[in-house]
């Protein structure tokens, strides 16, 4: 990500930004005028130099498709929306990171925990299964039992996948 090599535009994919702009959340990417307000206020950029939202936007516009999609950086956004609130150009930056992650997922680059979460939701309907033991604890705390059924979610996901084919 922080390579000091000169960017070889002959090897860049200039249609990448157009691709991103058609993904939900990526619509406003071309509005960016590179002011850096996003990175200046980013709590993650302050904590970890691997993540700089302004750099990622520039890389997308320069067509560095693989470098963006393969790198850890897009997965470090905490989704706090600080940048999105402050962007003077209305680039929905947190949503844009989400768009990049969805493209990366389709290319097979999503970190393992995300697959695990999706499978859990399709199987259980929630992230933390509520079993008899949990329900006993809930009843003891005078809280109602919870039984979640994920059947309808599996049907919705199946129909969405059919649409993609």
């Amino acid at each position: 990500m922080n390579s000091k090599d000169i960017i070889d535009l002959d090897r860049s994919n200039l249609s990448f930004a157009v691709e991103v702009s058609t993904e939900p959340g990526g619509e406003n990417i071309f509005r960016c005028f590179a002011c850096g307000t996003c990175t200046a206020g980013c709590p993650i950029a302050r904590t970890d130099s691997r993540f700089q939202p302004s750099a990622i936007i520039r890389m997308v516009i320069l067509g560095l498709r693989e470098q963006v999609l393969w790198h850890d950086a897009i997965w470090l956004c905490a989704g706090c929306y600080t940048c999105q609130e402050r962007c003077p150009q209305g680039v929905n930056i947190a949503d844009l990171m989400m768009a990049l992650r969805n493209i990366a997922t389709r290319e097979g680059y999503a970190p393992e925990p995300y697959h695990v979460q999706l499978n859990l939701l399709l199987e259980k309907g929630c992230l933390y299964e509520i079993d008899d033991f949990d329900n006993k604890k809930r009843v003891k705390a005078d809280l109602p039992e919870i039984h979640i059924d994920a059947r309808e979610l599996r049907i919705l996901q199946e129909k969405l996948l059919e649409e993609l084919d």
Partner: protein, 296 residues
Amino acid sequence: MKRALFLGCTVPVRARNYEMAARQTAALLGIEFIDIPGFTCCGFPVKSNAYTFSQMMSLRNLALAEEKDLEIVVLCSACTSMLAEANHKFRKSAQYRDHVNALLRKINRSYSGTVRIKHFSRMLLEDVGIDTLRKHITFDLGNISLMPHYGCHYLKPSEIHGEFDSPEDPKTLDMLIEVTGAKTVDMMGRKHCCGGALLASDNRLTYRLAAEKLHMASTSNADALCLVCPFCGVVYDDNQKLIENELEQIYQIPVLYYPQILGLAFGLDPKHLGFKLNKVKTKTFLSKLYGDMADE
């Protein structure tokens, strides 16, 4: 006042103290919570890798509330913003509405976009009102100080929350705390992100981010952090010990959910407000209010 209570994933398993206190305080205020059995996760956890599906998860939950003609009240800030965002997008585009309903028909459901979604704290302010809260207060919390933690999704993205509170200079949680008589500690970092979204993929980054806030709280005169989101609670309360180990620091800051504070001010027993479920012990905090008689 009837509302569908949306619990999401975290509250019923990892923040039962929050849920207990919310149900207790709501009952005292005459709010009737309806538990809808078909509710699932809001979809937020898979927004990054299955965006369209995540939106459908939210919209299906909204369809269930609409079937019962109920507004939704939410305890989790991430669920609040997820459901509100899906609703916002649904209302904006006729083409999208048709697509969503074509999918919902496959599970014999439909949605027309009528459901309103509010965070419980927002409901207390807007639908119950500060004056009504004040009338129920029987126990003065005047000798405690709290550091409000707004977190992110309670306020942002502001576009989907409408006219509520300023994401840059928020006041609503301070107002809710002050009506109980407790003092608020006003300092930088009240809007900090807990980093919870990265806990599964890069927990050390979460710890470093969370440590900033815990450090501020422990070096201020705050007796506790005051939260409105269960995932912030997972980070600051459940993980506080691990953060202390990682950063080689000691904070020992109690982490309380706002309804626990409100419940104390209503004169409710801490036992019924889930104080025993708090991970960072609250004995010192409670003895400041009740003297050494407090057994937790």
